[in-house]
Amino acid sequence: MLRFKEKHEGIIKTSYGYDIISFSAKNRKDRNSSVSYVWIENELKQIKIGFAIIGAVKIMDQILVTDDQSRLWVLDSQLNIIEKILPDYFSNLPDSIIKNFDENYLIADKGDVFNRDYTLFQYNNLKEVFRTDHVMKGFANSFMILEMIDMSYSGVIKLYNLNADLIWEQNLLDYIELKLISIKEVIGHSFVVINGDNKSISICFKTGELLWKSDDYLLRVSKSNYKGDKFISFNQGYVEYDLRTGQRKIEQDVRQRYDDFGRGGSPSFWQSDEMIVTIPGRQNKIYFYDIVQDEMIYIYEEKEAKPYLSASPIYYHEGHLFVKDFNDTLFVYELEEGLANKLEGNKTLT
């Protein structure tokens, strides 16, 4: 059901977003000889362009990439360099690109951690749309400013549409302590803020209203699908959350039935509407869980992994599965059609 295709050593960075997947083997002693791999035309093409590709997105017939110093480069479809853009700026692909129907937008920053400006650009003409000295985060059809005072979040957040019109302003400190936070988007619906104490809140995109508060630690490892109608986790079993309340509405405990799997659970997974692929901690096994059948329909053991397979990355793309081990070796597998079909359609965000 899963056929080993190839492996590559020294892969230190992986990127998946907007129909392109890339891997880089950075040469620390000689940056110019760094090697990258990009999945194009059903194969992993090796390229050497003088730097390691750290992030990549496909825009029309071009590929926008960031190098190991977070600088932006435009490549053609054959991965030849066309130009370096915004040379004074840094950016983090694929997170910093906002793909919209009519126009693409790019978030880039300049300065250092003590004194930094973020700018939203229209991508096609690199026209500046909005600039701030606070933190900027992009969503599917909007962007958010998180106000910073003395290098900490003040609590004030502002959501803008892509014309830079303010939609709403909110103070999150009314609901949650903003210490060491991560923000997860439920596309078109809401975003979830999780802090270092495993407290979470959900805020409605449309109104800025608090939807719910939760102490559920599993929300830290949860994610939305691309439709924005599901928010799920798969730690020791399948959990699906009610987007309106933050409560667990479906809970299928796998741990009791697959003892090997349940030992510690997994912080990471790949999901389609039908199936979840995951690698539990400190193991060399890849588990394929059928959500409807509520069982592992396939378990693959990678005996070459050293010492364990890493929980992430775990990417499915065009009939292939991509995972890494702790020793930075990338393993690429080809999936048989039945398994691949179950992984197509309405995937989760990475």
Partner: protein, 209 residues
């Protein structure tokens, strides 16, 4: 044999004001059974009995489980396990469904560096697991080991090679620090004369006592 080992270790529970007192030992057994249930408690006691050479580390783990369970637990208790990678001196890994804890009972702080050493490799392995984790260091004779260990971890973050390596395996964790979007940001914070509070928060999340 098991019982003798167990009592040896139990008597090393000096972290409590009642350390060495048998009533305290039996109190801990009772609390452990209550918190973990019969089977996990038996596993801990068995592990403690086997680990004669790691007595102090086990004793501290036992003390945490028995007396501070609600502070340290995230999710449900899963198991005890030896290290991911690296040194095995005085350590015991407590695995919860939501966090892995590395318990150490060191006399004094040590360095995580060099990057080729086993301490750094173990630290990197924890970052690489992607699961939340924390080190717990016992106070030794009332003196904090955790505090200087946070300094040791800050030194790791200030080291280019080490910081880049950790960021590469788990950038999401570092990005939870306000304003961080590249490994150089963390290095710059750690190298700064006065440590920004946001970095202190991060260090306190990873190293506890």
């Amino acid at each position: 044999m098991f019982f003798h080992s167990f009592v040896d270790i139990a008597l090393k529970l000096k972290t409590s004001k009642n350390g060495g007192d048998m009533s305290f030992v039996f109190d801990n057994i009772s609390k452990t059974l209550t918190k973990l249930g019969d089977e996990p408690a038996k596993r801990l006691l068995k592990e403690t009995g086997i680990q004669r050479t790691k007595a102090k580390g086990c004793a501290y783990a036992w003390d945490l489980i028995a007396n501070r369970y609600d502070d340290i637990a995230v999710g449900s208790f899963d198991r005890f396990e030896q290290v991911v990678d690296g040194p095995t001196e005085n350590i015991l890994d407590i695995v919860f469904s939501g966090i892995n804890l590395e318990v150490k009972n060191w006399k004094e702080a040590r360095s995580f560096l060099p990057v080729t050493g086993s301490s750094f490799k173990q630290l990197k392995a924890y970052f690489n697991e992607k699961k939340p984790f924390a080190y717990y260091f016992n106070r030794n004779g009332g003196i904090s080991v955790a505090e200087p260990m946070r300094g040791s971890l800050k030194n790791v973050f200030a080291n280019d090679q080490a910081m880049e390596a950790l960021y590469e395996v788990n950038e999401e964790l570092f990005k939870s620090i306000p304003g961080v979007s590249r490994w150089e940001n963390v290095r710059d914070m750690a190298s700064n004369g006065s440590t920004p509070k946001v970095l202190d928060d991060f260090l306190e999340m990873l190293i506890k006592e």
